[in-house]
Symmetry: C2
Subunit: 427 residues, 2 copies
C-alpha cells in the first residue's frame, strides 16, 4: 500500500534538503511545494513538484505506482510527526484538578493522594485520552514516564502511537512495583513490532538513592535499555542533593553511572556550566518543558546555552496536570517566546530551531536520529498533514516554518500517519 501527498508545502526538517521554495526564518531549513510518498512504514519519495525529485519527479512516481492513494496536498502542509519527549500521559486524569497553587501544596494535597489510588485500569483510561489528544494534535511519538507502564503499553499498542515507555522508580516499596512492571512492559513492547521501546525511569536524583539507582541501572544493562530521568527541575532539588551528596543532581547522576546509558533528562533547568559540559560529554539529551516550568514557576531552562554547547535539546509537554494539555504546537510557541524573553533578544531560538527540537532532535533523543523526525527517503513514515487555509495562516505565501511555530494550532492537523498507517483523517 502506497500513499502520496501531492502539491503540499513540504517541511522536511532535513538540512540542505532539495528545497526550492525558500528557507526557514533562521537558516539551514528548507521548505518547498512538493510531494511525499510512503510504502508500508517507510518514506519512499520526497521532492519538489515540477523540479525532478530524487527519483525523477512526482509524475513519474505516480505513473510507476498506479495503485497509490493520491491525496491532494493543496492548501496543506506536510511535516514529520511531532515527538513529545517528556510526558506522564495518564495524568490527564488529574487535568485541571488543582491549579494556581504552590508546587508542594499541589503535590501533597492533590497529585500524590490521587496517584496513590490509581489502578492500572485508571492509568490505562487516562493514557487513552492523552494518546488520542496527542495524535489529534500531530504528535506521533511520545516518551512517557509513569507507574504501571505495562498498562499504558497495551493502550499504546491499540492506539498505534509510537512510544518510548519508561517504568518509573523511586526509593522504597515502589521499587518492587518497578521491578515487576519493567518485564511486563518489555513483553508488551515486543509484541508491538518496534513501535514501542522501553527505558528505565529513575524519577530524579533526590528520590533515588545510590542503591536504588544501582538496581535500576543493573536492570537496564541486563535488557540493553536507556534511561529517562527528571533533572534539576526545582531549586529545592538542587538544595536536597547538595546537602545529601555534596554535588549537583547532574554530578550525582553521572557518579551513579546513569549517563553510561543513553539518557534523556527532563526539565534540565538549574544547570551549572559544569553540568552542561557533563551532559554534552555524555551525550545526554535535555528535554525542555517550557509550559510546565512556567506554570509551576520552576524557572527557564538554559536552552540557548545548551544548544550552543552542543547538547541535544528536545521538547516535551510534561503531564496534563501541570500544563494543562499535551499540545506540542502550544509548546513550540512557548519555547520560542520564553527563550527570547529570557535572553532579552528576539533573535534567539528562531522558529526553525524550535521545530527541529520538536521533530529531528526528539528523534535523536530516543536514538532514532535520521530514521524519525524528518521527511527523507528511507525514514519511517510518521507523517503529519496540516490545513493551512484558516485565517490565522493568512498570508499563506509567508514563511511556513514561522507559521507552524507562531500561528498554527494543533487543531489545524488534518492527517496523521504512524508507521504509514492513518491515525487521523480529517480531509
Amino acid at each position: 500500500m502506497k500513499t502520496l501527498i501531492k502539491g503540499a508545502v513540504v517541511v522536511p526538517m532535513t538540512e540542505g534538503g532539495q528545497g526550492a521554495g525558500g528557507t526557514g526564518s533562521g537558516a539551514g531549513e528548507t521548505w518547498f511545494v512538493g510531494s511525499v510518498a510512503w510504502e508500508g512504514n517507510k518514506i519512499v519519495y520526497v521532492g519538489p513538484d515540477g523540479g525532478g525529485g530524487a527519483e525523477g519527479g512526482v509524475d513519474e512516481f505516480i505513473a510507476a505506482n498506479p495503485d497509490a492513494e493520491v491525496i491532494d496536498g493543496r492548501g496543506r502542509l506536510v511535516m514529520p510527526g511531532l515527538v513529545n519527549t517528556h510526558t506522564h500521559v495518564a495524568m490527564t486524569l488529574m487535568r485541571n484538578a488543582m491549579d494556581d497553587v504552590p508546587l508542594m501544596k499541589w503535590l501533597n494535597e492533590k497529585i500524590w493522594p490521587l496517584e496513590a489510588t490509581l489502578t492500572p485500569d485508571d492509568i490505562a483510561r487516562g493514557a487513552r485520552v492523552g494518546i488520542e489528544e496527542m495524535l489529534a494534535g500531530g504528535t506521533t511519538t511520545m516518551v512517557d514516564m509513569y507507574w504501571h507502564e505495562a498498562a499504558i503499553a497495551k493502550v499504546v499498542k491499540e492506539e498505534g502511537i509510537r512510544a518510548v515507555l519508561c517504568p518509573c522508580f523511586v526509593d522504597g516499596e515502589k521499587m518492587a512495583d518497578f521491578e515487576a512492571d519493567l518485564p511486563e512492559t518489555l513483553a508488551v513492547a515486543e509484541e508491538a513490532g518496534g513501535r514501542i521501546t522501553v527505558r528505565i525511569g529513575p524519577h530524579a536524583a533526590y528520590t533515588c538513592s545510590p542503591e536504588t539507582m544501582r538496581r535500576g541501572i543493573e536492570l537496564a544493562r541486563k535488557h540493553g535499555l536507556g534511561a529517562h530521568v527528571h533533572l534539576s527541575e526545582t531549586q529545592d532539588e538542587q538544595a536536597i542533593v547538595k546537602e545529601r551528596y555534596g554535588c549537583t543532581p547532574t554530578e550525582y547522576l553521572r557518579d551513579q553511572g546513569l549517563f553510561e546509558l543513553p539518557t534523556m533528562a527532563a526539565h534540565s533547568i538549574h544547570l551549572s556550566d559544569g553540568d552542561i559540559e557533563i551532559l554534552r560529554g555524555a551525550g545526554v539529551t535535555a528535554v525542555h518543558n517550557p509550559q510546565s516550568n512556567m506554570k509551576l514557576a520552576s524557572g527557564a531552562a538554559p536552552v540557548v546555552k545548551l544548544l550552543e554547547a552542543g547538547v541535544n535539546v528536545s521538547l516535551g509537554t510534561d503531564g496534563a496536570a501541570s500544563n494543562n494539555d499535551l499540545d506540542m504546537f502550544d509548546e513550540m510557541r512557548t519555547a520560542a517566546l520564553l527563550a527570547k524573553h529570557t535572553a532579552a533578544d528576539p533573535s534567539v531560538l528562531p522558529a526553525w530551531e524550535v521545530l527541529r527540537m520538536a521533530t529531528a532532535n526528539g528523534a535523536e533523543a530516543i536514538g532514532m536520529g535520521g530514521e524519525l523526525g524528518v521527511l527523507a527517503q528511507g525514514a519511517l513514515a510518521d507523517v503529519v498533514m496540516v490545513d493551512v487555509t484558516g485565517p490565522h495562516w493568512f498570508p499563506a505565501e509567508n514563511d511556513p516554518v514561522s507559521a507552524l511555530v507562531y500561528s498554527a494550532k494543533s487543531s489545524d492537523v488534518c492527517g496523521v500517519w504512524v508507521d504509514g498507517e492513518a491515525r487521523l483523517r480529517k480531509f
Copy 2:
C-alpha cells in the same frame, strides 16, 4: 427573536453570581450548569438549571417563550465574548513576514516599508481576515489602532464584530491623515448603531510631540472621545522620553493632559511605582500583551503589581505581525504562565483572574463595564459557546475556568453571537 442555550456549563464572570456548580480555581468566580437566553441584543435570562433562576427557572422561561430557539448546551460551555483590547488588525498582511529578528531591524527592513505601501483597500483586506480569525476564536470585541480606520470601520460593520477603532497619529505629515481619518471613521461608526465606538490613537510618547498631542486631544474633546496609546513598551522608549522631556512616558502623557480622557495604555511594561500610581489615579487601563512582549523581547508587564495597586488590567493580542495570531485563548494562557514565571510563584494570576482580564476588565477598559464581558440579565448579548468534549477537556468535571485558560483552544469555540446575532454556528 429569542435564543436560549440550555444545560451548558455557564461561566458568567459576575462576582457572587447564582453559582451552584462550584467556584473558580482562585476565588470570587462561580460557574454552574444552567442556561443563558437573550432577546434581540440583550441577555434576558441567566440561571442554573433546576435551581430556580432569577425568573423562576429555565422551564418556566421556555414555557413563557415558545418561540425561542433552544440550543442544547450539553457538552458545551457558555461564557461572555472575549474582548481583545489591543490589536492592529490589518497587520495580518504582515504575519510571518519576518520573525526572529531584533525589533529595529524588523521595523526598518520589513514593517515600515510594507506599511508605507498600504492602501485603504489593502488595510480593509487585512482587517477582514483578522476579524474573521477573531470571531472564529471567540473574540467579540476588538480595540484597534491603525491608519485608515475608516476603511477598517466599513469591514467591522459588515462582519458584525464589536469594535473600538482608534485612528492613529504621530508627528509629521501623518497628522493630516489622522485629521481626515477621524471624522470619516466617526461617520461610519454612527451608521453602525452603537457597535462601533471611536477613540483617538496617539501612537506613543516618543512619537507624539506636545503639539501633536495637543491637536489630537483637542479633537477628542470636540467629539467626546477616549484615547488608546502605546506606553512604555521598550527600554528605548524610556530613554528617548527621559532625554527629551526629563520624565517617564507615563508622566509625559499625563502632563500633556491625555489621561483626562478615558485612556487605555497598551504594553505598560517599564513602569515605576510612581507611574503605576499615576495610572491608578487617572483610571487608565493597562493592556497586557504578553505574547508580543515575549516575542519581541520587550519585557514582562508588572501585571500582578498593577492589579494589586487597583489598576484595571485587560488583555490584547497586539497585531498578527508580532504575535503571530489573534488568539485570545493563547493569550490568556501566556498571561498566566508569564506572570507565574516572573514572580517565581505559581499562585499568582490564577485562571479566573486571567479570564476576567479577557472579559469583564476588557469591558471596563472601553467604558462598558457591567454591560459587556459578563453574562448577566440586561447585559449585551455578546456570547460565546465552547465545545468541551475534546480529549483535552477530559475530565470535564474538573474546574472549567482552569480548563478555559490552561487547556482550551480557540478552535473549541462552536458558537459566537455579537449583539445577539450569530456570527459563528459550528453546532
